[in-house]
Amino acid sequence: MSESDDVTVPDADADVGLDAGSGAADVADVPLKVRDLRKTFGGITAVDNAGFEIEKGSMTGLIGPNGAGKSTTFNCITGTYTPDSGVVEFNGEDITGLKPYEVADRGLVRTFQIARELSEMTVLENMMVAPMHQRGESLWKSVFSRKDVNDQEAEILERAWETLEFFDIEHLANEYAGNLSGGQRKLLELARALLTDPEMLLLDEPFAGVNPTLEERLLEHIHELRNEGYTFLIVEHDMDLIMQNCEKVIVMHQGRILTEGTPEHVRNNEDVIEAYLGGEV
């Protein structure tokens, strides 16, 4: 039944990926480590020796003005870009330069800045793509071993419904994803990412273009999930949102990490005020 475990409700509290022998305790507490990350495009250095650590079960905000290198850092971590140098470690494993699907397979799953729903598929279909290593993803089994596939499909379907209910969008289950509003798409994206059984979620501007009511709901869900043990790294433009909701904030500026710490610490940091807030606070 180990295969069916893949598709049951994620148990984020269980020890996941503690296979690294050395420093297991350290690894368990700090799943994601980024060191000396560097990425250039032509003559422009988008990320310049950035490094940080994300603690397990925490909610960390990554902020910075436009062009600070937040998204590039994100893309380097999740495999969309290959960094020029530096190391990305997840649960003690060096994942630098892995393909996006390999990174996701290790439990580090991202969402996109502009919600990227699979528009000509229904919400349910969108959800059901996500669970990893489905039996029916084998071409052979999908054609010749339907019984086996159907059993797992039933589990996946149930889990998809439950997750939709959790996000209060189950009434949209049979709607084409392309017909959803911007905020609903963001909810769908987060819900879909959850079905991959992630350990850590990287959210790229999850609140952009979301109306305040939905924003509130999205935040509630994220807090609830964090309490269940998921780890979050959130890139966000909205300074206040991050300050109010994250226990740790990383500030980037011109490709570098300017400072990191509690919202209180960041708010009072002279460099941040100068670089990012322009003396506004």
Binding site: T8, V9, P10, T78, T80, K99, P100, Y101, A104, D105, V109, R110, F112, R116, L118, S119, E120, M121, T122, L124, E125, N126, M128, V129, A130, M132, Q134, R135, G136, E137, S138, L139, S142, V143, R146, V149, N150, E153, A154, I156, L157, E158, W161, E162, T163, E165, F166, E170, H171, L172, A173, N174, E175, Y176, N179, R192, A193, T196, E224, E228
Partner: protein, 468 residues
Amino acid sequence: MSDSDGEPGSYGQSEEEERAVVLGIDFGNDSNMLITLLVGVFAIYLIGGVVIGLPFRGLMNQIGQLSFWIAVFAMSALALNLHWGYTGLFNIGIVGFMATGVYITGVLSKPVFGAGTSAAEVGGFGLPLLVGIAGGMLAAALLGLIAALPALRLRADYLAIVTIALSEIVRFSLLSDTLSGTDIGGYRVGLGGGDGLILDYGDPLEVFVRTASVPFDLVFGQSGWLWEEVYLGVIVEAVSGPIPTNPKPVVDNFAYAFVLLLVLGGFYVLITRIGSSPFGRVLKSIREDEDVTNALGKNTNVFKIKSFMVGCALMGLIGILWFGTQGSVTPNTFRPRITFYIWIALIIGGAGSNTGSVMGGAIFAAFLFQGPRYFKNVVETVLGNPSAPSSFGQAMLPISQGDVFPMLLYVLDSIRQLQLFLMGVVLIWLMHRRPDGLLGHRKEAASSIPLTRPAKNSEVATDGGEDQ
């Protein structure tokens, strides 16, 4: 927005579309729609034949041929649907995979070069036809792999360029003198060059029937029982009543078309199964957004290559079934035009829908491919086979005297050329009025089970639904 009950019928479509009932026939039901279409097409052909007083033999030949074309185009549209409709792979080199299939089958299954073969011809490896067919499909799939490996890493449009170039490379390779004949391991084999390849591996129909006969042979203790006793002994005998002289070719036509329709059924089941499974769901999501699919932990390249190779193997099989019964093949049969015929069939039917693909294939075969030629026959026979002017000038001249009849005859006589024009007009009209094709607006669910809410979980989970 649809309600949350999500009953099977409400899948992504409104009720009105679902319940299009005309003359007591529920056109919302795919199989009814398909059967109505086919019955209608055959009725039109039969009526046309009766009107011109076509002899029974000619009429039966027409119907047999029509079934053949419907099957061939429907199969092709289905295979292309796997590429384009499901995975979003822009394959415009279909004909190259067909050519590969039939040529490799020829090379593998032709009799060994020897006393019986003329000196100008090449022989084959003399393998059984079924082995040859498997080889042909495998070769087409491998060719697909070669095309896919470099192209799938790039953006979608590059696959289109690679495939159409590849189909022309295949055609020129078939024309090549260098590859036309050589000795491999003592066998004199080759592709035949510009003269083409004589497919003297025996009648495919007979091979198919004899293969199907194997279980019966064990029971009746006679080799090829189905062929000797049932086919030749009963069916062909029975037809010799209405067609006294040489009934076998007519029956052969019918029987072969029947075999093709069976294969078409197999294609439909196979591709529907692929489409309605987690595998097909990933293909669909690659079509929608490959980056997202990748970010969800799917190795999209592997999925794309699998889908592409399966489609190419099927195209190879279609090539074998289509061209493999004609006694010989020449390279210039395999021009890109055939590829575009199949695209038209798929666009008519609606990419993404299997039933639509079959309907598109049937409509294309009946009205755009075979239809104009048949229409020409009917009209000419009704008019008593008048002779048409031989050039445009001669057709224009009488118009100045107020006589348009020669012009009409000229147009009718050029119907084979005008056919392409007609296809173009239909395409433009479709793009304007119905860009999704007949059934493309209605997507088939990408799941192996009905997407209804599980009954046992109908009460809303109060704990957020994350615990079990």
